[in-house]
């Protein structure tokens, strides 16, 4: 690679660096996978992104795009040297169009900053993944979900348009400010969730909603998880339109309680369902009342309406801190399997059995309303070699079970490197072939995030199961 040519494009020395690079740019949020790269560039315009990609294209240099690097699956680990293309300096909120309920942003804007900005203007951006210091471009690249997906859907549902740069430097715009679109292939939808393998996102038009006037959370303790999950299925059919439907087992909550020093009510429960309703005041009250009648008739132990803001915040804080609470105690491997919603309890039962059988702590919690289960496999006191061997074996078993139940490798984290072996083993060769033909069609030299997710073929780097 010619340092001079790259420096001609990015002339500002504070936005370009060469080997050796800071380790944080060579990994993801967990920091366990480490790649290598020759250069790091931080473009500030679409033009710079296009010029860098054109240069990389001409010289067949691998490019690894990244935002804040908060992903959990190694999507941002550069595997082949080359250039790290860090979009975090392209972080301007460009416009808010109150008539079309859309905003235009650069990809490096933090989710938390965008949410705060639009809410300050009376609007609402529903996608709400746990990590708020992730970038919007990263959210789009993994089709991030989060707690509000039950009512509002996922990131895909809030992307109206994208400006993209293809592997060869070509700039194009897909989608638009329009609400409906039946005009040709939906390139926008192909790019969403493609983890930087097909194009680099340089601008986003996002859909907003009017800000809900109020919201109310309810904690529902149950004597068993199975009863809790059955209640979730009833709630989803009951025209009460909950925003969030989370589940968590008592044994898991204890970890979060210790971590934060906040107590959940009804410690005698085996599991909790945590509900939120939002909308207009009277609507929220009516929904919460109807849900109460429903669950109290179906063996809920209690129905604790969290009107006290401090209590409500504390309850959600514990739920939100579970991964960090686990990570504080021991290394862990996060899994975000998704199964059809009626299969959640069967999957969790299986994990609980496996936990006993294999003597490895397994923490389950997550989005009961959409079957998206966060599972942490915990290392505990295992030495490196034992941990690697047992983790691999147990991961294989949980994914096998999920696939048997009709589930998928990832609901919202993406595949990246670390979930790739499981994704490849759980996806038909026909599907993988079509995905790879599309990769080949858009990036025939294979420079963009090669070796990640679905990409198979000549350049094989990640291990397979």
């Amino acid at each position: 690679m010619e340092k001079d040519e790259l420096s001609d494009i990015i002339s500002d020395e504070s936005r370009i660096a060469f080997e050796p690079l800071e380790p944080r740019f060579l990994s993801d949020s967990l920091g366990r996978l480490k790649g290598r790269a020759d250069a790091l560039v931080l473009p500030v315009s679409t033009k710079e992104v296009s010029q860098i990609l054109r240069y990389a294209w001409e010289h067949e240099i691998p490019v690894t795009p990244r935002g804040a690097g908060t992903n959990l699956v190694g999507s941002t680990v550069p595997m082949e040297g080359g250039i790290i293309l860090d979009l975090s300096r392209m972080n301007r909120i460009l416009s808010l169009d109150k008539d079309t309920l859309t905003a235009e942003v650069e990809p490096g804007v933090f989710l938390k900053d965008f949410q705060a900005y639009v809410e300050g203007e009376g609007f609402f951006y529903p996608p709400d993944p746990g990590e708020k210091e992730s970038t919007l471009g990263g959210n789009i690249s993994t089709n991030a979900g989060g707690m509000r997906a039950v009512k509002y859907g996922v990131t895909r549902d809030y992307v109206r348009g994208l400006e993209l740069v293809l592997a060869d430097g070509t700039v194009l715009t897909v989608g638009s400010r329009n609400v409906k679109d039946a005009s040709g292939l939906s390139l926008k939808n192909l790019i969403i969730g493609s983890e930087g393998t097909l194009a680099v996102i340089t601008r986003c038009i996002l859909k907003l909603l009017p800000k809900p006037e109020t919201s109310l959370s309810v904690l529902v303790p149950f004597g068993s998880l199975l009863v809790g999950i059955r209640n979730v299925l009833s709630i989803l059919k009951a025209n009460v339109n909950p925003t969030a439907v989370e589940f968590v087992e008592r044994k898991v909550i204890s970890l979060g309680e210790e971590f934060l020093g906040i107590q959940y009510p009804r410690p005698d429960a085996a599991s909790y369902i945590l509900l939120t309703f939002d909308g207009r005041e009277e609507e929220v009250e009516a929904s919460a009342n109807r849900a109460k009648e429903l669950v109290m008739a179906q063996r809920a132990l209690d129905y604790i309406v969290l009107r006290d803001k401090e209590l409500s915040d504390g309850i959600w804080k514990v739920r939100g801190a579970l991964v960090k609470a686990v990570e504080a105690v021991s290394q862990q491997e996060p899994v975000d399997i998704v199964v059809p919603i009626d299969k959640s309890s069967e999957f969790i039962d299986y994990v609980n059995q496996l936990e006993q059988e294999k003597n490895m702590q397994m923490i389950c919690f997550g989005h009961a309303g959409d079957g998206n289960i966060h599972l942490c496999l915990v290392r505990g006191e295992r030495d490196e070699e034992t941990w690697n061997r047992e983790l691999k074996e147990n991961m294989r078993l949980v994914y096998e079970k999920a696939f048997k139940l009709g589930g998928l490798t990832s609901g919202e984290h993406g595949i990246g490197l670390s979930k790739r072996p499981y994704f490849l083993s759980g996806t038909s060769s026909e599907n993988l072939e079509v995905m790879n033909r599309i990769k080949e069609a858009l990036d025939p030299k294979g420079i963009l995030n090669y070796g990640k997710s679905y990409i198979t073929g000549g350049k094989e780097h990640a291990e397979t199961v």
Copy 2:
């Protein structure tokens, strides 16, 4: 083409025919474009579809897939001879899964039959394009929209999974019963709206909602369309979550009134906004009341709550019959342009001016809540040659205006043949190239619906502007 080989696959004589074919199989709903084909087959299984495609693939025979043929843009017109693959006999509703709120169907099921079936079971399938005798496979292929899109979204939002057959006969499944998916490229979303150019849909898993408990419509007359559209923008920001927000001008309604013998109230109005709210009783009432306060403060002439079922049905019947009312009087060309919602009134103003200037009747109505405008250019007494010339010129002008406003060729009808010249002229060469590279990747022999929509390149059939 070897008749015997095709007859070996489709042995039932009632499900195969050879040239000359009934004219209805060679066209679309309008019947003005006519193609030609050597054979018509009506498969009843995925296996048969796969065998037919494998045969066509080996012999490089063009294949034109179709459902009920109700499209308005010539998507089902066979341009190159070959085989018409009619999916209408694959019309079984296979299962309804009440726990995951999904149904599995074959692609030939009529929308109206599916809606009736799921509503009978207490569920709701929101996509609601005007033509209820369209097939679900056809709806998916054009990403059909309809009146309820404001609140509920379009067909894309209700497709969980698809079984597909690729051009070479390969069968694959994309998507699943799972709610969330961040696992590899979203092939499902690439296929939705692709108008039969990438694959043939043989099975669909559709998402359902609980059936809304009640609904209520309101007719709001205004002194001008501009004021009406401004009110629509306010309503969309007001947390009243309307299901449908339609607009229609008084001069247009008169046609429907004559056609059906039903009168709209307040004939002194220049335009009407027609609203629907659905949900729980108290929710619907609260939304309707709040919307009333809002529009009465913003120059609505009246706020007519349509509690009388007969009146409400009549009002909607007139709205639904507008295209047929126009078509009954004269030949017309339907356009379903979409523009950003705040640009609707500017677009309609332009059309009204053009109507005067060019002395050609132009009927505008449609989905005010999503900027999707149905426009009929009416032939009147013009002779064939004059009509063709003037239609072409005026179509060019209205599309140019729409593109200038940031609009798109089609919101829900698709591109097919008849909107292709406008789509090609309004889409950047970069986007077209990427679409065509994907076509080439999935169907390198170009046998599936060649010459339709975005497809350019070697085999050019449709005229361009």
